[in-house]
Subunit: 456 residues, 2 copies
């Protein structure tokens, strides 16, 4: 998808409709581009001219001295066709049309017209009706969302504007790192499938998360997912009847039967998320962990209750809790009243050192494919010390997920682990869900390798 | 349940097995009692005598000068019978037996013996195998869990020790206020039903949350719940086959068929939580909100996407989204491209003032019984200002739940609202789940008033 290179890694960006008024979108986008540390040329464009944020303002894009790869357009909908014509004449490669007032309010013809103009000049169009695009590896934040975005390897594509912006902030506080945020809006030209193909080859992205209300071209979407070697996690909203109606009035999406979506997702190997929290529970693990060799999972815990909850979650998520005879080996790393039966309960008296021994044993055992380490905050095992020990000891050869329940120190320990790329959560259900998604993705990959058989 | 008064509001507490060693449970409990600000007399008891934390240590409980209402016992299991005899001679009213090494490790006879001794002297027994008891209205924290507990009106009963302690910390960071934390352990004497009866009459408790793996006396539990005028939220672990096995090895609970529990819970009007996070999502709303008059719910949102997600959740949770003609009135409080159809989408440009107008209208409308207010962080509507406005405007006559999605400011806004007793969450699903539990509880109450009919 070399043509999307200009969207993600433009050598220069023009902001058409750049504004002097800090309250306006045309100011915020320019400001985000500059404060994000973008290294290419930046050209504000506004008929009023003058200077914004220390940059000379050009009255029209055709007056800009150098070449322009990407034009971000934030002008009233009616003017967009004229602006696009000028962009075409200037030789712009890609445009991101922030402006709303197109298909989403019934102006279908106006939307068709802008696509036609863009195609005539060979320009790709993101939008219209979007909050912009951010690509962190290029230090590009051409959105009117938060100026700070946490860097990582998850690409977020959102059909919803407000939710997409909100999730830029939410991922930041949740300690989730993003490679890109793309607002697709009306998807007049650039579609989910175009973006999946780009991220499939993007070395900075390992997982793709999509919030969608509907797909325009089902066949193309299926093909793109099938040929993407990276996990695609989809939050498909409008699953209920009433929700589908709401989606239809929101983005004009024909949500379609949810059963159909569900069936197609399973067939092509999409990991379907229940909601955005779930999407990122899953994405965190998919982004950071090695693939398991098989599905035999062990749970290590210092609390019986949290172990029972995790076991319930494991069964609900279809996780195979290993129960081989060799689990007896774990007796060596627990007191006599511990339980080596999976969940491996090293008891409430477990110290950091005992956790480390149990973790080492689970990592070394050929019969164990995945590890869930659970912890209830106790006085004999400091959560932050435990997190540091896990970071130090974990060899990274098989998947490890962690759940830590407790007060502030446990919350900080969860952050420490996530920062180190070890998926950690504050509830055992999340840890089991993450492992289950990893195993699902592993099964999808296996089926694909076996030659495009139907996936269950 | 006047006899449990001595457990929750003792005029004096002895800690038998009080220790000089800060690493020991017998030190931590004493320290928590003192640092919690308990106003009654506190007597450390240890054969070694001396002084701990500035208090004179008595060699045996019979040497304590004044009367003792509650004895917290943290000595080896084998000595517990002798200690109990002395407690009985001293006239102690209730004992909390921290010590483990009883039924949970197969010592059934020893457990029977301590119950017999206690009954002979008319003492009630909490435990054994527990982390203690905290009752915030009496400034009593006789646990070896965290010393700080956030005060509120939710009573937490936990059959799991490690999980209960961890949840003491977790509720603190989650901004959830507790009236009491009770570790029930082996439930040799004091049972869930005894505690439900106490909290039913406790003016400081509005919701009871129970983590349980099994009930000993089903009939008594059912009677206690049925006659409790306050919502009882139960996390019943061991729902899966393998989870039930884990529960059995953890607390010796015969978990029983989960379908049976589920049926009984519905019959007697227990609100079943899916996990502890869910329990507190629900408890927060039950603890703070007025009861709805009917079930007609409106969603107010500034984001279409989050509105669709909430609509999906509403349908999944069985919430009745109102769709009457009079929703057209909301047109007055939104721009022309907004949607007055429920979800009421006041659009991404919505200001604090527009939210306030929409909230007022929903509060004033007789056709609206419950309100869910959703917010995606935007630049035109500051989340903390919105939270302050909601606090100021909300009349508290019908249930209101809030979901705010965004960065740090939104997270703080959620905290502000929760501190003010307006249940707020960071995901629309949580808000809808909370409302649904409120409506369920309303239906349970109605059925009970109609005279013990079977509940569906």
């Amino acid at each position: 998808m070399a043509e999307l290179e200009f969207l993600f890694r433009p050598r220069s960006v023009a902001v058409i409709g750049a504004s002097h008024n800090p309250e306006k979108i045309g100011y915020k986008i320019l400001n985000n581009i500059l404060s994000g540390g973008y290294q290419g040329k930046v050209y504000p464009v506004n008929p009023k001219g003058g200077e914004i944020l220390g940059l000379k303002v050009y009255r029209r894009i055709t007056e800009v001295p150098g070449p322009v790869d990407l034009a971000v357009i934030a002008v009233p909908a009616q003017i967009v066709p004229d602006v696009l014509e000028e962009c075409g004449q200037k030789g712009v490669k890609a445009v991101a049309i922030i402006s709303s007032g197109f298909k989403e309010v019934g102006n279908i013809l106006l939307e068709q017209r802008i696509v036609e103009i863009a195609q005539r000049y060979g320009m790709r169009v993101l939008g219209p009706n979007i909050f912009g695009i951010a690509y962190l590896p290029a230090n590009l934040n051409a959105t009117f969302g938060p100026s700070k975005v946490r860097r990582g390897n998850i690409a977020l594509i959102s059909q919803s504007g407000a939710l997409g912006i909100a999730l830029m902030g939410w991922t930041q506080t949740a300690g989730l790192g993003l490679s890109a945020v793309v607002s697709v809006g009306n998807k007049a030209d650039i579609s989910d499938e175009d973006l999946i193909r780009f991220f499939a080859e993007d070395p900075n992205t390992d997982v793709i998360v999509i919030y969608m209300e509907g797909v325009h071209n089902g066949r193309a979407f299926m093909d793109a997912v099938r040929s993407c070697p990276k996990p695609v996690v989809v939050i498909k909203a409008g699953r209920s009847k009433r929700g589908a109606m709401a989606a239809s009035s929101h983005t004009g999406s024909l949500a379609g039967s949810d059963l159909v979506y569900d069936g197609v997702f399973k067939q092509i190997g999409v990991i379907r998320a229940r909601n955005y929290r779930d999407a990122f529970v899953v994405a965190r693990a998919l982004a950071d962990l090695p693939m398991p060799k098989g599905d035999r999972t062990v749970i290590i815990t210092n609390g019986g209750g949290i172990g029972v909850l995790a076991t319930d979650a494991a069964e609900a998520e279809g996780i195979n809790l290993y129960s081989g005879e060799d689990l007896k080996d774990f007796k060596a790393v627990m007191p006599p009243f511990g339980s080596y039966k999976n969940p491996i309960d090293i008891t409430g008296g477990a110290t950091v050192e005992q956790y480390v021994q149990a973790l080492r044993m689970a990592e070394d055992k050929d019969t164990v494919d995945s590890i869930a380490l659970l912890y209830c905050e106790t006085a004999v095992c400091d959560p932050e010390e435990l997190a540091e020990a896990i970071k130090r000891e974990y060899k990274g050869k098989k998947p490890l997920v962690v759940a830590m329940v407790g007060g502030e120190k446990s919350a900080r320990a969860v952050e420490l682990l996530n920062e180190a790329g070890i998926p950690a959560y504050d509830a055992p259900e999340d840890a089991m869900r993450a492992l289950s998604a990893l195993h699902l993705w592993q099964r999808y990959r296996k089926k694909r390798r076996q030659g495009g058989e139907e996936l269950r």
